[in-house]
Amino acid sequence: MTVPAASRPVFEVEGLSVDYVTELGDLHAVRNVSLAIHQHESFGLVGESGSGKSTLAMGAIRYLASNGRVADGSVRLNGVELLGLSPKELRALWGAKIGVVYQSPLSALNPSIPIGRQLAEVARQHLGMDSAAARGRVQEMLTKVAMPDPDAVMKRYPHQLSGGMLQRCVIAMALMTNPALLIMDEPTTALDVTTQAVVLDLVAELKREFDSAILYITHDLGVITKICDRVGVMYAGEFMEQAQLKELFKRPLHPYTLDLLGCVPHFDPTPQKRSLVTIPGSIPRVDQLPAGCIFAPRCSFVEAACTKARPPLAAVDKGHLSACRRWQAVPPPAEYLRAATEAVRGVQTACDTSDVLVRTSDVQVHFKAPKGTVRAVDGVDLDVCEGQTLGVVGESGSGKTTVARAIIGLTPRTGGSITLKGESLPRTTGRRPRSTLRQIQMVFQNPDASLNPTRSVGDAIMRPLTLLGGLDRRRAKDRALELLQSVSLPVSYFDRLPHELSGGEKQRVAIARAFAAEPGIILCDEPISSLDVSVQGSLMNLLMKLQVEQKTSYLFISHDLSAVQHLSDVIAVVYLGHVMEVGDATKVLTPPFHPYTEALLSAVPLADPDVKQKPIRLAGSVPSAMNVPSGCRFHPRCPRNLGDVCREQEPPWREGDGDHRIFCHIPLDELERLQAETLVLEAEEGA
């Protein structure tokens, strides 16, 4: 090989296979995968759960559970073969040449050792520093990751810092030795969207400053666009496609990639609500792989030959690899999207007072805590009209879930009023008559906990039918079977117990159970956020389909702005227990914005490298709901803070077109002028 050193990849994986030894024999979790990363380059490893992306990364650096083993292949770091190194030799690389950043920074740091000492350990182990020198190095590194007041942070314990701060510490630790390879395993998944944006900015900056090749693992196609140069898409333990970032998004050459891109809601405030692409079936189990192409059973471009032999990952264009034998038949995304999706319904914004189904007026939920009062919800006014979806978006701690719980009566409100069709609702479920209970249903966030583990699926759906619907058992059973079918589950699931269902299937049962009562409104509390993107897409389609059929209203709560804008007619942006902006979806997503909405829009990672987002970053983290800031509660973090007015006076509601309202001191026309470039969506045809 006469390749000049500079262009040789720092990290090369060739034909790597990783097995797990289990009672059922060896499971080939990762099979014959190859990738290469150059210095200063970041390689995005994307895949849904079960795709083997973590196994690939950890197997490559030889860190596997005792029942895992590397079965075949070659892994080279700076030309040094890692397979075959002794444990001692590996330990000399781990932490020195290989740095790792983990998903949950809080659990990745030792709870009983001060942060400074944990970071210094790396410097002492690999840089041969004494403790004083190591401390200096830690300080320097913390400064480089833009940590305010590094000295104080070093003395802190992990539980005393916020998630974003902790992740910076972990990044500082991983980069301490300027490693050749930096593995980042979902480093921002556990963070709020505005914090995530700050951390992603930091990583992009450090990428230039340090010499590391980055292997970035994520399930989030949006995050990939912010950080990666090259992307590899994994499916059930193999690569389906590898390409440069822009190339992959513009012209994917594997049907799986195409489908994945179509599962994610696109950011276009149009008056038509379209369905999303769905992938039929589910990821095959690693021990039951189909004979030919592993994606063939779910592929919309499949032909007989695909099921005969497994196509290898091969170059189809310069630097573009696809494992599809029909890659030439794969259409451009825009074309495919039009063909594979359909218009479901128009946006419904018109709403008279008589159409208002649920109205909250100045609702407050305050909790007594040992050290003060938690103002979880602090004066929320919202209207949900018949057949309409109100999307409530906010970060953790915004009180969005508490609003829903107050409406349904699980958490009693401490002030304000809530009406259903004009009639005031009692504060708790216990005081509400069945006819009222029936009108409001809820789909919860955690699919694993929303069904009773000891009750069958059929029982779960039949109970509201008999209790609230007044059906006898035989009629209830018939209706339950119908409902199962309407949420696209086989009727054979009637007798199953929840642990036999996947997360998406459990959520479908929960949706069927909610619809069983034939409610006027369903409160959806982050119903899709714990699921894979393809499952999310199909659930959003289901929710939209049922809404059209049943004329139900939704209150859709999520931290995911893309999902909210996809489903909602009206959007409310909440921050620290208060609505900041509310209005028709199109109005909220176009200027003028509330400065907080603006920051959210700027921070949300969109799965489209062509969208231009002006970097607007929020300082610090959401304050505690026990110390709500004076004046405008957003002022300490607001990039458009006007000073004394914002600090001292509660802002006015500024009325825009239609029902669009913004809770801000800055006049709307000025906001509009300032915000012209916040989010530029390029026309699809420009691609």
Binding site: I61, Y63, L90, R91, A92, L93, W94, G95, A96, I98, V100, Y102, S104, S107, A108, L109, N110, P111, S112, I113, E121, V122, Q125, H126, Y157, H159, Q160, V170, M173
Partner: protein, 314 residues
């Protein structure tokens, strides 16, 4: 932290007060007429009522209780009818003996228990772990009179290495008492060992699965150092609690062991008092034992908080 300790102290006082009420009522009210018991069934009515006045039994129950508790706090623990001496010196003499036994047993099982628990956790799911886990399980809850008698059969009667009875005379020093303490201490250690082993094993197994241990490994730190700086600091916390609570049992709870070996500790004193129905002695001994237990629990709580920064700084 200070708040935490104050709250715990408050709870401790409450527990002792409630416990003293239970003890007082169980010994004073339930057994019926104390005067008849002391003087015998055939005593005259005048003699009985005179004794009741002497003992304050004609006063309302609450007053009796208050007087009793006040006297206990002041150190006036009364006179034992069955031994015809002041209660307090006897109780403290026995407390000293109990402490000696507790120290020997503690030294025997705590380090060994932690070591075995760690080995089992590090060798999880191997035959070593199986042996230690099943072995310790076998001893948990094995009555001390069974293990004690078997130990006596082997080491005292068969090998004649140690005395079979440990009825040391009052005032025996620690060194002289040591040979008499070995077998009882082993008996106690056998039962307690299992708790320490199991707690250490399960918490270490948990900690080993934590993300931060993976972080430490992937920092390239040698395994031994990972174990000592990252694992033990967290995994021994629950063990510390178990051991601290165990101290209460070591001092005041060895009723069966002391009875098997005839060792004059607090437990045997309590049993003696119960057999003689010596209410004054029962009350004082029982309340002292409760006090020891509660203090041990308090120490356990405080230790846990001090060693755990998540509680220390919240």
């Amino acid at each position: 932290m200070a708040r935490f300790i104050v709250r715990r102290l408050g709870f401790m006082v409450m527990t002792v007060v409630l416990a003293s009420i239970i003890i007082f009522f169980a010994t004073t009210i339930l057994p019926g007429d104390v005067a008849s018991q002391i003087l015998g069934r055939f005593a005259t009515e005048e003699a009985k009522s005179q004794l009741r006045t002497e003992l304050g039994l004609d006063k309302p129950v609450v007053v009796q209780y208050g007087t009793w508790l006040g006297n206990f706090v002041r150190g006036d623990w009364g006179e034992s009818p069955s031994m015809n001496t002041l209660v307090r010196p006897i109780v403290f003499e026995r407390l000293g003996n109990s402490l000696m036994l507790a120290v020997v047993a503690f030294v025997m099982y705590v380090p060994l228990g932690i070591l075995l628990g760690l080995i089992a956790a590090l060798k999880k799911n191997t035959w070593v772990d199986q042996t230690i886990s099943v072995g310790s399980l076998a001893f948990i809850g094995l009555p001390e009179f069974v293990s004690g008698l078997i130990l006596i059969a082997i080491f005292a009667i068969h090998f004649k290495w140690f005395p079979s009875q440990s009825a040391i005379p009052p005032g025996t020093g620690f060194v002289e008492a040591l040979p008499y303490l070995i077998l009882p201490a082993i008996t106690v250690a056998l039962t307690s060992l299992a708790y320490v082993v199991r707690m250490t094993r399960s918490s270490t197994v948990d900690v080993l699965q934590m993300d931060y241990v993976r972080t430490a490994n992937l920092k390239g730190i040698p395994p031994r150092k990972v174990l000592f700086t990252h694992v033990l600091r967290n995994s021994l916390l629950p063990t510390v609690t178990v051991v601290a609570i165990g101290i209460g049992w070591l001092i005041g709870g060895l009723i069966v062991t002391e009875s098997v070996y005839g060792y004059p500790g607090l437990g045997r004193l309590l049993l003696f008092a119960i057999q003689r129905r010596d209410l004054v002695l029962i009350q004082s001994t029982a309340l002292l034992i409760v006090l020891i237990y509660v203090v041990a629990n308090l120490i356990a709580d405080i230790l846990y908080a001090v060693l755990n920064p998540r509680i220390r700084y919240s």
